[in-house]
């Protein structure tokens, strides 16, 4: 997993923080920080020296800039880390800031901020500093104003003991990835260690993993290269599943899309779409991004609402779809679960007369076609089946970064709240629509990229693979890698 993600710094968190270091392969040259242990702060500096990460030591004593400078020097930092103007971005890690939720008092409070604030040197308490806490739930971010100090950003990277009701699964957090972007954006995502290595290959559960390990197959590459005959001799792996598992491993190992089924894709030129909403259980789809053509040279169009929830763009979209794009299939990633029903619902609300024209249109969920239709038609590369992971594995690069669907939804929601709350329209901070639309454009181009590879796979469906499956196909795949 560590290899797959390639972090600059690793932070060990409870419950078994002390075993993280020893458990890691020595091959990794990584700073491993542990919070709340030792007498002095634990410090690491990223390779590009732009960011300094510091875990607070045990106790409650305030830290001094000198102490930190002295520690940081050993990591060879030239700039004075205490100087916010020239110094690197600071990222402090504590375990004393936590959330408590009391449904009976109907309140949720951030505890321990005051004590923590007292330990941090004055000049570091700036908007540039990011405060991470291992006592906050991974993915939780909040901005709190403390006294007259201005805003401080707190980001959870651990497990919370707060009473979060049915809002969380309650399982321990496996691993959290915090991405600090140069533009100040912070991305926090949970990552599941089981999506890495052999365990991440579809159809490989704990039992098969054990079987493969016993047979000396410990990496995805090794699985992809193992003779099929050998795999079928292993217990619990019939010929069919050995083939499936190996194809999946090969797709990951070689970053290619490999055919696994016999279904074809429409010969009509598809229209790629992606929607932006106000969350995963949305009440609006305020932006419909459309790509007309291929990933590189296709024409991108944004259908965006003109006023909050006016539905005007839906009509425009449908006019284009039924006019210029008549009879072409509409393709979306995970569309059966999200984009298509959300658009149906939106049309029902705003333009019931257009519902039939939309639902009668041939709609294809490219992810479903690849992984589900008649048992699946393609093995995908990438750590997960998320659009960006698959496209990334296929060598596609986005033009925006530090932004994802959830962030876009947040920005939109914040804007919508302002519009309604503010009488003076001029006072409303308008989001950078252009950036949001570019993000949406990235997604449809990523989709088109994947679709091209799916088409390639469909043309050469599984039948064309040599019956033994023993790697004769490798060479012919190079033009797709």
């Amino acid at each position: 997993m560590v290899d797959g993600v390639g972090p600059d710094v690793l932070v060990a968190t409870e419950p078994r923080a002390s075993i993280v270091g020893p458990a890691l392969d020595r091959a990794f040259d990584l700073d491993i920080l542990e919070v709340g242990t030792g007498m002095r702060p634990d410090i690491a500096v990223t390779d590009d020296t732009r960011c300094l990460v510091m875990a607070l030591p045990m106790g409650e004593d305030p830290l001094t800039p000198e102490q930190i400078a002295a520690r940081a020097e050993t990591s060879s930092v030239d700039d004075d880390p205490a100087d916010p103007a020239t110094g690197p971005q600071l990222c402090l890690i504590t375990r004393s800031v936590s959330l408590s939720v009391d449904p009976y008092a109907r309140s949720a409070t951030l505890d321990g901020v005051s004590g923590y604030r007292d330990r941090v040197p004055e000049q570091w308490w700036t908007a540039r500093t990011v405060h991470l806490s291992t006592a906050l739930r991974a993915g939780f971010t909040t901005t709190r104003t403390h006294g007259t100090d201005g805003d401080a950003r707190f980001v959870g990277i651990g497990t919370s003991n707060a009473d979060l009701g049915v809002g969380t699964t309650g399982g321990p957090t496996q691993a959290t990835l915090v991405a600090l972007h140069s533009n100040g954006a912070i991305g926090v995502s949970e990552i599941d260690p089981r999506t890495f290595g052999l365990r991440g290959v579809p159809e490989i559960g704990p039992t098969r993993l054990e079987t493969l390990r016993d047979a000396g197959i410990t990496t995805v590459d090794a699985l992809a290269d193992a003779p099929l005959r050998r795999l079928t001799e292993l217990s619990g792996l019939g010929r069919t599943s050995a083939n499936t598992v190996q194809t999946a491993a090969e797709a990951r190992s070689t970053n290619t899309v490999l055919p696994t089924g016999t279904d074809s894709l429409s010969t009509q030129d598809p229209v790629f779409i992606d929607i932006e909403t106000d969350g995963l259980n949305p009440s609006t789809a305020w932006l419909i991004g459309v790509l007309d053509g291929g990933p590189a040279d296709g024409h991108y169009m944004s259908f965006r609402e003109r006023a909050i929830d006016d539905g005007s763009h839906l009509k425009a979209f449908m006019t284009w779809l039924t006019g210029a794009a008549a009879r072409r299939p509409v393709v979306a990633w995970n569309g059966y679960r999200f984009d298509f029903p959300v658009i149906t619902e939106q049309l029902r609300q705003h333009h019931p007369d257009l519902v039939a024209a939309w639902t009668d249109r041939y709609q294809l969920d490219a992810l479903w076609w690849a992984t589900n239709k008649n048992g699946g038609n393609a093995a995908l590369p990438g750590r997960t089946n998320k659009l960006e992971h698959v496209a990334d594995a296929l060598g596609w690069e986005p033009s925006t970064n530090g932004i994802d669907g959830a962030t876009v939804a947040k920005l939109y929601t914040a804007y919508r709240s302002q519009v309604a709350g503010e009488a003076d329209a001029g006072a409303v901070a308008v989001p950078d629509w252009d950036r949001l639309e570019r993000y949406c454009e990235d997604d449809v181009r990523a989709l088109a990229t994947i679709y091209e590879h799916l088409e390639g796979a469909a043309r050469r469906d599984a039948q064309t693979k040599t019956p033994t499956g023993e790697h004769s196909s490798q060479g012919s795949l190079t033009d797709f890698s």
Partner: protein
């Protein structure tokens, strides 16, 4: 609130002759004749405490064309009962209707016809029917098909949609059904699919009718959840522009309109004037002989009175078997309901034995019946009974709910089933239709039974039945359902009426926004607030508890169909070593895994003659007053919230045949449990202990040996005696609370103490608290009925036949007592309740 009484008693003339069965033909007339009774029960005169004759009632009918249009009127081959017509008229007038008429009075026909009527108006109309169990759902799907498609010839598509329905069938149902049948737990998880699965849009947009069958089932914890699920449903429906009518059927309860309103958030009209015909019915209250010797032998000052009473108690199950045998020997098919620990198998054996011991030494065919038997065996018993191949069936209360076992001539109830509602439901099993019936209640050994045998008027004269108790005040439950609602559709200001009202809705939304589970940047007044937590919050809502945590019960040596157990009950009743009775079978808890997020209780079926009793210590803190009743002279009753810390530290095992202590106290190894819950407390004047002891005629009590080992029990005689009085008053009220309220008093706890640091408590006090985190409205309901309950309790304690200072299980002793019923003093308890009632009287 509407008074409700569907029984019209005609009082029997005298009690000194045998019970007549005049309408039952010559042989039946004989059964309870003096000579027959003399044969079976030489001392029967002492045992029959009361008999009540409910006369036959003829049908009050209305021609179908008065209410229904054609073709329904002509296709329905019979008249409607007046209550059916009344309900249909109300539905025609756009009212929501709650129907509380008696068992088998044809309540289901009402919603069947309404569905038919809606369908004929608009063939796209849909209806949603909720049933408490899957078994009942299957029964009703069949009944609906027979009625709508068969008898009424309508082209309606009817489908069950629950955990047993496969995906393909589910899709067909979603896309085509006019009527969907499911249960509230199912609706909880299907609701969020409304915008995702094809078909729901059609179904919800066209929804005209929501049917909630057996609405009285939704009280307590389950009721709280169901109330929120129904609000979430209404909110989603509002989005689809649907505002359906509700039909709720319920057993007879005291507060049908209020109960229906709390469950759904809508207003209801009540239909309770029963027009269905009924045969005459005799009800006999039968008191088993008490083995006085067993009692006297144990009043030795050790404080372990339960022992003697257990020995005395075993007579009630045995006595019930004798009564059943008497009826069976005389050719009366009988259904006996038992709650006895020994189970239905031994009950059946005892009945056969009693028939052999009968002077006529007769073989009777008797079978046990309980949920643990397995489907095939249960069906076999049901069929044998229908075919008249059995003389008697000994059943747990599994038979209470709707399942049609066919008709029997008589019922025998071993121990009062806890509520009038289930009492009448059990009785209703005898003599379906217009045939005559006989029912016998054999009194058990606890306070409710004793009260009823002493005051039969409670069952027959009093025009009221218990109130169903459901509450939506538990904020923890609300908080969870708010997340569920947000995951169904983003929250907006318009949702407030469905989701707790404006203030509560906004405050709880803000809390979840602060906690990051609802989108922080969202605004209720501007576009809405979306859900930001882990997927599918609905799947983590447990309808069996309020804390989101419940324990799965796993049987090592076979299957067990046991509902998940709420944390509170797991700590008390399912610690390692605990024995419990479930569906007629004894189980022992072999291990408890408290690990989150899926705690488990491992059990094994055992054959044992033991049962366990858990002991606890308790502390009440963080009191906050939300309501206050000020009485005269420094007496006060408060209602509010607080934290109750309970440590179920040890347990004892006893033999249920003798009550003898087999082992213990043994440690439970259970950690302390903190309940943030609702409670009431009765605050007495500062000097009340002193003045009461001064006024006490009887001698002071000598502290028991056991009390000497318990640091919380005062050892000085006067304080020991007074503490016994407080404790007795607390127990008495909790034990008799079900007389007024349909509540399970196992989910209520109490604590009495001579002093407490809270500012509202200058002197002695006792607390009554909900045993469920966050509260489920039980102590609130008791607070609202405290004067009536205190009066009943006072009367009952003072008049208890035991006449003992330390009381007995018939008055103030409780199996759930964490203190092993020590100290208890009925004399001081009576004085304390007298003082409290006087303070009520002197108020104003």
């Amino acid at each position: 609130m509407t008074d409700n009484h569907s029984h019209r008693p005609e009082h029997a003339a005298s009690t000194d002759t045998a019970v007549p069965v005049p309408d039952g033909g010559a042989s039946r007339r004989e059964i309870l004749s003096e000579s027959q009774l003399n044969e079976s029960f030489p001392d029967w005169r002492e045992r029959i405490r009361h008999r009540e004759r409910l006369g036959a009632q003829s049908a009050d009918t209305v021609a179908p064309d008065r209410v229904l249009h054609d073709p329904l009127a002509s296709r329905l081959g019979h008249d409607l009962y007046s209550h059916q017509a009344e309900a249909l008229d109300l539905l025609e007038a756009d009212e929501n209707v709650v129907i509380t008429t008696s068992t088998s009075s044809g309540k289901t026909l009402i919603y069947q016809l309404q569905i038919g009527r809606n369908h004929l108006d608009t063939d796209t109309a849909t209806a949603l029917c909720l049933f408490p169990t899957k078994a009942l759902t299957n029964d009703q799907e069949q009944a609906l098909n027979d009625r709508l498609r068969g008898e009424l010839g309508l082209d309606t598509h009817i489908g069950t949609y629950d955990g047993d329905t496969n995906d393909e069938r589910k899709r067909t149902v979603r896309e085509n059904a006019n009527v969907i049948l499911t249960n509230p737990a199912g609706l909880n998880v299907y609701l969020p699919r409304h915008a995702k699965d094809r078909g729901w849009h059609r179904f919800y947009s066209n929804l005209d009718l929501v049917v909630i069958d057996e609405g009285h089932e939704y009280g307590g914890v389950m009721g709280t959840h169901v109330a929120w699920i129904l609000r979430r449903l209404r909110r989603v429906l509002a989005h689809y522009g649907a505002d359906p009518q509700f039909v709720i059927t319920t057993a007879t309860i005291g507060n049908p309109a209020a109960h229906a309103a709390t469950l759904t958030g809508a207003e209801f009209s009540v239909v309770n004037d029963d027009g269905s015909p009924r045969g005459a019915r005799d009800i006999v209250l039968w008191e088993p002989p008490l083995d006085e010797e067993a009692l006297d032998g144990n009043d030795d000052g050790t404080g372990d009175l339960m022992e003697g009473f257990e020995r005395a108690r075993r007579s009630s199950a045995r006595e019930a078997s004798s009564v059943t045998a008497h009826l069976a020997v005389n050719g009366i098919r009988t259904l006996q309901f038992t709650t006895a620990r020994q189970g239905t198998e031994i009950g059946a054996k005892q009945t056969k034995g009693a028939a052999r011991d009968h002077p006529r030494d007769q073989y009777v065919a008797v079978e046990p019946y309980h949920a643990g038997l397995g489907k095939r065996k249960r069906r076999a018993v049901e069929n044998q009974l229908k075919a008249a191949d059995l003389d008697a069936v000994i059943s747990t209360n599994a038979l209470e709910l709707g399942i049609d076992i066919g008709s029997v001539d008589a019922t025998v109830t071993d121990s009062y089933p806890g509520t009038k509602q289930s009492f009448w439901q059990q009785i209703g099993r005898a003599g379906r239709g217009t045939s005559d019936a006989l029912s016998v209640l054999v009194g058990g050994t606890d306070a409710m039974d004793a009260y009823i045998l002493d005051n039969p008027g409670y069952l027959f004269d009093d025009d009221t039945v218990e109130d169903a108790v459901v509450s939506i005040d538990n904020d923890r439950v609300f908080a969870d359902h708010l997340l569920a609602a947000a995951a169904e559709r983003p929250l907006t200001a318009a949702d407030a009426p469905y989701l707790g009202g404006d203030d509560r809705f906004r405050e709880m939304t803000a809390m979840w926004q602060d906690a990051g589970l609802l989108e922080r940047s969202g605004d209720l007044d501007a576009g809405g607030v979306t859900y930001a937590g882990d997927r599918r919050p609905q799947s983590r809502i447990s309808l069996y508890g309020t804390t989101g945590t419940d324990y799965e019960v796993i049987r090592a040596n076979g299957e067990i169909e046991h509902d998940p157990v709420a944390t509170e009950r797991a700590y008390r009743d399912y610690h390692e070593g605990a024995l419990f009775l479930h569906a007629g079978q004894q189980y022992e808890v072999t291990a408890v895994d408290h690990g989150q997020p899926h705690p488990r209780i491992h059990v094994e079926a055992v054959a044992t003659t033991q049962y366990t009793q858990t002991l606890s210590t308790k502390r009440v803190q963080n009191l906050e007053v939300t309501d206050h009743t000020s009485l005269a002279d420094g007496y006060d009753v408060y209602f509010g919230t607080g934290t109750v810390r309970i440590t179920y530290g040890s347990y004892m095992a006893r033999d249920y045949r003798t009550g003898e202590l087999v082992k213990g106290p043994l440690p439970t190894e259970t950690p302390p449990l903190d309940l943030r819950t609702e409670l009431l407390w009765v605050s007495l004047p500062e000097d009340h202990a002193g003045s009461t002891i001064t006024g006490l005629d009887a001698p002071l009590l000598e502290p028991t040996e056991r009390a000497g080992d318990d640091p919380r029990v005062p050892m000085e005689q006067a304080r020991y005696t007074y503490a016994g009085g407080l404790h007795a008053a607390e127990h008495g009220i909790i034990q008799l609370a079900p007389l007024e309220l349909m509540i399970d008093n196992h989910d209520i706890g109490g604590l009495s103490t001579p002093s407490h640091p809270h500012e509202t408590i200058p002197g002695p006090t006792w607390f009554v608290h909900d045993g469920i985190d966050g509260g489920i409205g039980f102590s609130k309901a008791i607070y609202e009925h405290i004067e009536t309950l205190a009066a009943r309790t006072r009367e009952h304690i003072a008049e208890c036949e035991c006449g003992r200072r330390r009381g007995c299980p018939l008055c103030v002793m409780s199996e759930d007592c964490g203190n092993n019923n020590d100290p208890l003093d009925t004399a001081t308890g009576t004085m304390i309740l007298d003082d409290l009632l006087a303070a009520f009287d002197a108020r104003s």
